[in-house]
């Protein structure tokens, strides 16, 4: 009945699809990636950058599980910057601007080098199920029937995608690409709850027409810090960006033409992201601001297209031209492609299990923008986890691959999605993690690579590098705990500590603001000999330890709640004291534990108390 079979089919070659396919294949599943066109695999359809604050954390976590994104970005990066460098290591975010073409090529090369992964340039047209409703395969537009134990759908904004440029509407996924109508129909037959979101992109400019000389240049870090811990050094030539800003003339022009913007003209119903507002939004909502900053980011070394970051718009093309001309440095700039808003369907992620598998359709996984997120990194992190779990389904009885909120931003992302759903495109922010001080971008490997090894998705190179790093950190920590001085000795060295007679270890004093790096090296001569990453890890642990210890009691309570399971068969109408509204909210999100019930939006402390009472009663009954 099938023309061909494999273990896992991944539909879509974007950031989620690439990670999903590669992750499933790394776990030993025979995997097939289906996409419209092989050449666009790994396309960066919006801004040409990977990482940032929160997003950089996700990239490092993907890397820690041996995913591809960080390595591709390092191979393509032309401008690297560690954001929040003046703040502590927990909130620093590595970011790289990439050459768009190099990124595609790097991603495609990584996929080609992945054993057990095949790529096929055919659109998925339909899904196949067995009589029990379990997925068994897909049908392509060419009529090919492919059998699979698990299918991951990563179609981004392709579901009923519609582009708006002023009054014009173009049905499409990305510019020049057809939306997947057939697949949308087969998904709608599943009766999944769909809703609409929108996002936007700025016009692209011809770099040769920009007056660079008159603009403030923004240089990347030197030396650049790679995104992947496997990358020794960045080989590409590095380029500068430039900074400019809108003017009162820009704002006046936008106000005068607001009715022609697709969003403000009322032609778009979907909700847009608050943290990535269009320039129309910024001018309307913050009317008192005289200027809005714009970063001019080159799209490549050989490509002179420039991405003006900060002016996403859905105004008509001729207004966009006037808008660009009102900006210093861009007076004579030519638009290569107009900006646009795109509206698309997404699936309410509350219909997913924490494995990203549809609750009602075993074996069918969704990952990426289709789940209501925005951003390459958010998509890739979901893709990776969906790929791991899809490989599990194909393999039989392995336990689910789930990261908790305490372990990873990836865990925060998926927990937020499946429990809370989304009201705007979901973007990762460090504020979303209650364990922010413990989840650093630079300790992603220490946090996750052992998990990845146990799951079988980490290759030999990384395993060896991880083992070396872990041992070096353990050595350094042991040394920093056992080497110390008395207060008198610290005072003699010119370091002010409480003269309470208590001996203090190096680890305790490393975080003291009074201890300068020079003093530290004088007191502890072994410090300068540590490899830089090991020393940074030591200093970060020293910095946050007092806070993490203070919170540990509170976290233990949270953990206990987190471990109190809510039976998946629990009928919330049986829980005494829950209002109809609370019952509905809980039934929609189906939290797996009492802790996660507390994160369902709108759940009152009273409802939680009622649920806790019910669960404890049930516990007593069974033991």
């Amino acid at each position: 009945m099938f023309d061909t079979t494999c273990d896992v089919v991944v539909i879509g070659g974007g950031h989620a699809g690439c990670e999903a396919a590669a992750a499933a294949a790394r776990c030993g599943a025979h995997t097939l990636l289906l996409t419209h066109r092989l050449e666009t695999i790994g396309e960066m359809s919006c801004n040409p950058a990977i990482g940032g604050i929160g997003k950089g954390h996700l990239v490092r976590e993907i890397d820690a599980l041996d995913g591809l994104m960080a390595r591709a970005a390092d191979a393509a990066g032309i401008h690297f910057k560690l954001l929040n460098r003046s703040k502590g290591p927990a909130v620093r975010g590595p970011r790289a601007q990439a050459d768009r073409r190099l990124y595609r090529e790097a991603m495609q090369a990584l996929l080609h080098a992945t054993l057990g992964l095949d790529l096929l340039a055919e659109a998925a047209e339909d899904l196949l199920f067995d009589p029990a409703g379990r997925i068994i395969g897909v049908v392509t537009a060419a009529g090919r029937r492919i059998g699979a134990a698990a299918v991951v759908i990563t179609t981004g904004t392709f579901l009923r995608g519609e582009i708006h440029i002023g009054e014009r509407r173009i049905p499409a996924g990305r510019v020049d690409e057809a939306p997947s109508v057939g697949l949308a129909d087969s998904l709608s037959r599943l009766g999944l709850p769909l809703a609409r979101l929108k996002t936007g992109t700025p016009p692209r400019l011809d770099g040769r027409s920009i007056d660079w000389a008159g603009l403030e240049a923004e240089l990347g870090d030197d030396p650049p810090e790679p995104l992947s811990w496997l990358t020794e050094r960045i080989a590409n030539r590095q380029v500068a960006c430039a900074i400019t800003a809108t003017t009162p003339a820009t704002h006046a022009l936008i106000r005068a033409n607001l009715h022609r913007s697709a969003v403000y003209g009322g032609r778009i119903a979907g909700t847009g992201p608050r943290y990535c507002p269009s320039i129309e939004d910024k001018v309307v909502r913050f009317a008192e601001r005289q200027r809005h900053q714009i970063f001019l980011e080159p799209e490549g070394l050989e490509d002179d297209t420039v991405y003006p970051n900060g002016i996403s718009t859905s105004l008509p093309e001729e207004i966009q031209a006037a808008l660009i001309a009102s900006i210093p440095g861009l007076e004579r700039a030519r638009i290569r492609r107009p900006g646009y808003a795109i509206e698309y369907d997404f699936v309410d992620p509350r219909s997913l299990l924490p494995t990203l598998e549809l609750r009602t359709t075993p074996g069918l996984f969704l990952a990426g923008q289709i789940n209501g997120t925005t951003g390459y990194e958010e998509a890739a992190a979901q893709g990776l986890m969906a790929g791991l779990n899809a490989a599990c389904r194909a393999g039989g009885t392995d336990p689910d691959r789930i990261l908790t909120r305490g372990e990873a931003y990836t865990g925060v992302l998926i927990d937020d999605l499946v429990l809370q759903g989304v009201t705007e495109p979901y973007r990762m922010l460090t504020a979303r993690s209650e364990y922010r001080l413990a989840l650093r971008a630079d300790n992603a490997g220490l946090r996750l690579t052992d998990r990845g090894l146990a799951w079988g998705c980490v290759g030999a190179d990384r395993a060896a590098q991880h083992a070396r790093f872990k041992a070096a950190v353990a050595d350094a920590l042991a040394r920093a705990r056992s080497d110390g001085r008395t207060p008198a000795q610290y005072a003699a060295a010119g370091v002010a500590v409480n003269q309470d007679g208590r001996w203090r270890s190096a680890l305790e004093v490393l975080a003291l603001p009074a201890l300068s790096p020079t003093d530290a090296e004088r007191l502890f001569p072994w410090l300068p000999d540590l490899p830089p990453k090991v020393r940074a890890e030591l200093e970060a642990q020293a910095l946050y330890a007092p806070y993490l210890e203070r919170q540990s009691a509170e976290l233990r309570i949270l953990e206990r709640e987190e471990k109190l399971p809510i039976p998946s068969a629990l009928d919330f109408t049986e829980v005494a004291g829950l209002s109809a509204e609370m019952r509905q909210r809980l039934a929609t999100s189906r939290p797996a534990t009492l802790g996660s019930a507390g994160r369902v939006p709108g759940i009152t402390p009273a409802a939680l108390a009622a649920l806790a009472v019910h669960l404890r009663r049930a516990e007593v009954r069974f033991t």
Binding site: R436, E554, G577
Partner: protein
């Protein structure tokens, strides 16, 4: 909504002109219909005949409160019956036959809480209101039940959320041109909030004392007249009085209302070097009670030299009283209020003085006071985190302190989610590209 219908006497027990029975639960309407025929219009008092098995039980006022606009949030009703145990018993029997059951203690309030009609502090206020003995306690409980504490803590929560949002914006959007003085603004506002919470905590425990009552212990040598004074103050023979020294062996307690403050007055064994095993234990208990008391009354009989044992207890929270003032003159250098339990001399002055002391320590001042140790512990935790702010060298550490303070206050009233913080971030700053 709870399926089962509960009922309870809402008015006081015993014989009375009117007795009010309250019902709550999903099937309340059906239960009332069994007894009273059709339901009256919502929230209208209607006169109905109540019947059970064809027998007329009473002619009663029936009120029908369909949920959720009711005290418990569920369908509820009130039956205003003629007072009298027989009628009550008959109606209760009829209600049980119709499927209702007597409520457990506090069950109405618990249902109101579970249905989201009250937050935790309001529910605690209702419990206190029911248990209030004095007018001062009642006023405080009323304020709390009305949400005064909830709105005070709610205000702090809102301000902490706004502070955290500013700190988060500073962390999250490095490349944006945010106001340069953001960190200073956060520090200033946090210091102001810290001072308010500290002020609320530094109320000397007035609210908790008003809720729990003030403890006053009477201390003095044997036969100084402690038991007589206790009896005179409470106006009844609470303690045994005799001329024999050492009559009071254990602590004798009596309750009284001093200006709205509930007071427990404790008479104790006389202080002396005793050999009798029981008396020794009594004196040990007297000392312990004195240590725990909010206020001490040190009694010296006017006809004797002051004893060293009692003199040793003089301290700011001790009031010197000269008992048996009908038997001698004031002792030079000791000061104190002359009182005679026998003649009544000085008693009004002592009572006035005690009332003033009680009000000073536990009076309801009209401000919103801390009423429970649970709240105090949470606020102290919040304060401890705010105290780390000035020395926290990095923005993420300051954010952590603000988050922990928010969580601590959230333990009193409810939780604060990330979304609330992000709402402020995106509402206040133009960020994102």
């Amino acid at each position: 909504m709870h399926e089962d219908v509960i009922f309870a006497l809402a008015s006081g027990a015993g014989r009375a002109a009117v007795a009010v029975l309250r019902l709550s639960g999903r099937n309340t309407g059906a239960v009332v219909e069994v007894l009273a025929g059709r339901l009256p219009p919502p929230r209208h008092a209607s006169l109905r005949r109540l019947r059970h098995g064809g027998e007329l039980l009473d002619r009663a006022l029936v009120l029908w409160f369909p949920g959720p606009a009711s005290y418990t949030g569920e369908d509820s009703a009130e039956l205003h019956l003629h007072g009298g145990p027989a009628i009550l018993a008959g109606v209760a029997e009829a209600l049980v036959a119709a499927g209702a059951r007597p409520a457990e203690p506090g069950e109405f309030t618990r249902r109101a809480f579970l249905n989201g009609k009250l937050d935790l502090t309001a529910a605690e206020g209702i419990a206190d209101l029911i248990a209030a003995e004095t007018a001062g306690q009642r006023r405080q409980a009323l304020r709390q039940a009305g949400g005064a504490l909830a709105s005070l803590y709610g205000d702090w929560t809102m301000r902490l959320t706004a502070l955290l949002a500013r700190q988060e914006a500073f962390i999250e959007f490095e490349e944006e041109d945010l106001p340069a003085d953001l960190d200073d603004a956060v520090a200033t506002a946090a210091a102001a909030l810290r001072a308010e919470i500290a002020g609320h905590l530094a109320d000397g425990g007035r609210g908790e004392r008003l809720r729990e009552g003030l403890h006053i212990a009477i201390l003095g040598a044997p036969n100084a007249g402690k038991s007589s004074l206790l009896n005179a103050l409470v106006g009844r023979e609470a303690a045994i009085v005799s001329a024999r020294a050492g009559t009071t062996r254990d602590v004798v307690e009596a309750r009284l209302d001093l200006g709205g403050v509930p007071v427990t007055l404790a008479d104790t064994a006389g202080l002396r070097d005793a050999t009798d095993e029981i008396e020794v234990e009594g004196i040990r208990r007297a000392r312990r009670r004195a240590e725990e008391a909010d206020l001490l009354l040190l009694l010296f009989a006017a006809d004797r030299e002051p004893d060293a044992e009692t003199l040793a207890w003089r301290r700011p929270e001790a009031l010197v009283v000269l008992s048996k003032s009908d038997l001698g003159a004031a002792l030079p250098g000791l000061g104190g209020l002359p009182v005679s339990a026998r003649t009544g001399e000085g008693l009004p002055a002592l009572r006035a003085r005690l009332e003033a002391e009680a009000l000073a320590r536990a009076g309801a001042t009209g401000e919103t006071l801390l009423t429970r140790p649970r709240h105090r512990a949470a606020l102290q935790d919040a304060l401890a985190w705010l105290d780390t702010l000035p020395t926290a060298a990095l923005p993420e550490l300051r954010a952590e302190a603000l988050r922990a303070a928010l969580r601590a206050i959230g333990r009193i009233t409810g939780r604060v989610g990330v979304e609330a913080v992000l709402d402020v971030v995106f509402g206040e700053f133009c960020i994102g590209k």
